[in-house]
């Protein structure tokens, strides 16, 4: 049975349709890349799954997560799933972290709010372990640091640790590497692949960058102006794009084999 099945998902703001009849399936532990330029509706799709669409959005269709239709779920029940069974990593780690609290507090926050009777100390331990899992050195000390004391890549690691703390079944990463330096990007993608291997969590990777998708996704959905242009396995999309738009996107990407050897070759995936 698939972990997440999205069927005929449509998101509208008034008369403007930002996502139009989207559908895809994601098996347990699988990984899916949603690719498109800005305004293609890819981020709205992720927010729809999280139930975090901005005010004024009208969302129809089926979002079935482990047999539960998230779109019809009450806000209360949705909250129990959000941040516990489905976690999200955002694009800009600096602005996505609250400057007023230590990273430890923020990592532990999700864990504490989804598990009852967790002491402050136990939550702190969970935060430290999560930070160790994303390879933040001296996690025991850095847990009390504030976001501004970390570098961009380290902040994104903090965000990933935050997502991991509750051991979610699905992680949605919305452009997690866009705001980072190229070398750091590769490290973060490696980390995401590693996390997936270790925890067995499924991953939805939202990006404008096909190179990123080739790194982490088994299946790819290409979106444009809210419509699905093409769906297929990563291998098929890269070797034999059916739609001219996909072809154009591929042409825009610097050939991946030209890149530094650290990046795996076409369709390598994991």
């Amino acid at each position: 049975m698939s972990l997440l099945r999205v069927n005929d998902l449509t998101v509208k703001f008034g008369d403007v349709t930002v996502v139009d009849g989207l559908g895809f399936e994601l098996p347990k532990g699988g990984s899916l890349g949603i690719v498109g330029e800005s305004g293609s509706g890819k981020s709205m799709t992720s927010l729809a799954v999280m139930g975090l669409l901005p005010k004024g959005a009208l969302c129809t269709g089926e979002i079935s997560f482990d047999g539960i239709d998230l779109n019809t779920l009450s806000e209360r029940r949705m909250r129990e799933i959000r941040g516990d069974r489905i976690a999200m990593i955002f694009q800009d780690p600096l602005s996505s972290l609250n400057p007023y609290y230590t990273v430890g507090t923020q990592i532990a926050e999700a864990y504490r709010s989804h598990r009852s009777g967790v002491s402050r100390r136990a939550a702190r331990q969970v935060a430290i372990e999560a930070m160790e899992r994303v390879h933040i050195k001296e996690a025991g000390r850095r847990v009390d640091d504030y976001p501004h004391q970390f570098s961009g890549g380290m902040r994104q690691r903090v965000m990933i640790a935050m997502a991991l703390s509750t051991e979610p079944e699905l992680i949605i990463a919305d452009e997690p590497t866009t705001a980072l330096d190229v070398t750091v990007q590769a490290q973060i993608l490696d980390l995401l692949a590693e996390v997936r291997r270790d925890t067995g969590a499924a991953l939805i990777m939202i990006t404008h960058d096909l190179a990123v998708v080739s790194e982490v996704a088994d299946t790819v959905v290409v979106m444009r102006y809210g419509d699905v242009v093409e769906t297929g396995s990563t291998e098929q999309i890269f070797s034999d794009p059916r739609h001219p738009y996909t072809q154009a996107l591929l042409d825009a990407v610097p050939r991946i084999d030209d890149e530094i050897g650290d990046l795996r070759t076409l369709g390598g995936g994991s």
Binding site: F90, D92, Y101, S113
Partner: protein, 332 residues
């Protein structure tokens, strides 16, 4: 941190010194000769010269200013012989008109001004933050529009007009409040409190209006921050999202500004104190202006500058305690 503190204090002292110098200079150039004032109507040129020499008024400007500074830190004597008046540090000058040491005049009135400022600050902070929150939560709806209209009104009506209007309605017409008169707190606490209701309100309304607008804007801005979205994505309960992730960043700047405004008020709420006849520092300043009692005017100006500058520094330190980003910046 220590270096930062030392730098701040030095900067503060420099500003205060400049304010003192500038103020002293302006008054030295502009004010009428105090010797003539003291001398009165039946006056001979010899007597004026004598007074001048006695008080050091014939010294050149730098010498007089140094004496003033000396008085500020060490205290000084006015006049010589039996008629000498000692003014102990911090000596802000001597009012020849009321034959009193200015420091004493101010110290007497400072508590009243503090009461006015504290009461008003409590009112405007409460009203401003609550109003701003309500407005932000109901953004674009009736409540928001209504509150915004009220704040515009509150900022447009000058506080002396407001003072007269409220006094007319609540004291003259409705007679809900007693006619304002000076009652010591110990004599009749109830009456004392009632007397302050109107001044507090009048003073608070202008500030409350701008605080409401500020709170509203800050809260709305903060709610659209990415970290609030992160907090929601973690599945936090709405009250936690609000309390921890929206309110703290939104209200911190308001605390800062409140501190500065409050410090500014300690220098005297000139108009409010005058209209309601409250015997505070502000009224002292206004009365001295009418009487042209320069030493007092200068002392109040200096005092107000002192409060503003010190308030500024306290607020900066407070801010670095609240905001971790600034804290880090201060240590490095």
């Amino acid at each position: 941190m220590t270096r930062y503190l030392v730098n701040r204090v030095l900067g503060m002292l420099l500003v205060l010194f400049l304010v003192a110098l500038f103020t002293y200079m302006v008054f030295f150039l502009l004010s009428p000769d105090p010797a003539v004032q003291i001398c009165g109507k039946t006056c001979t040129p010899e007597r004026i010269d004598q007074i001048r020499a006695n008080l050091g008024l014939d010294d050149p400007f730098p010498v007089q200013f140094l004496h003033f500074l000396e008085g500020l830190f060490l205290g000084r004597d006015y006049g010589t012989g039996a008629s000498a008046v000692h003014c102990s540090a911090p000596c802000l000058g001597y009012s020849f008109q009321s034959a009193q040491v200015v420091t004493d005049m101010i110290v007497q009135r400072l508590p009243v001004t503090a009461v006015v400022a504290i009461g008003a600050a409590v009112l405007w902070l409460l009203a401003g933050v609550i109003g701003g929150l309500l407005s932000a939560v109901r953004e674009g709806r009736f409540t928001d529009r209504f509150i915004t209209a009220l704040t515009l009104g509150g900022m447009s009506v000058p506080n002396y007009v407001l003072a007269l209007a409220l006094q007319y309605v609540f004291v003259v017409q409705l007679q809900w409040l007693p006619f304002p008169q000076a009652v010591p707190f110990a004599d009749d606490p109830g009456q004392w409190f009632l007397n302050f209701i109107l001044p507090w309100t009048v003073l608070a309304i202008g500030y409350a209006s701008s605080y409401t607008r500020l709170t509203r804007a800050n809260v709305i801005d903060t709610l659209s921050e990415n970290f609030v979205r992160t907090a929601r994505a973690k599945g936090l309960r709405p009250h936690l999202v609000w309390r921890r992730h929206a309110l703290r960043p939104a209200l911190t700047p308001i605390v800062t500004i409140a501190g500065m405004d409050f410090a500014g008020l300690l220098g005297g709420a000139l108009i409010t104190e005058t209209v309601f006849g409250i015997n505070g520092v502000g009224k002292l300043a206004a009365d001295s202006i009418t009487k042209n009692d320069q030493p007092v005017i200068m002392a109040v100006t200096l005092l107000a500058a002192f409060f503003v500058v010190v308030g500024n520094m306290v607020v900066d330190l407070l801010y670095s305690a609240i905001d971790p980003r600034v804290r880090a910046g201060a240590t490095t």
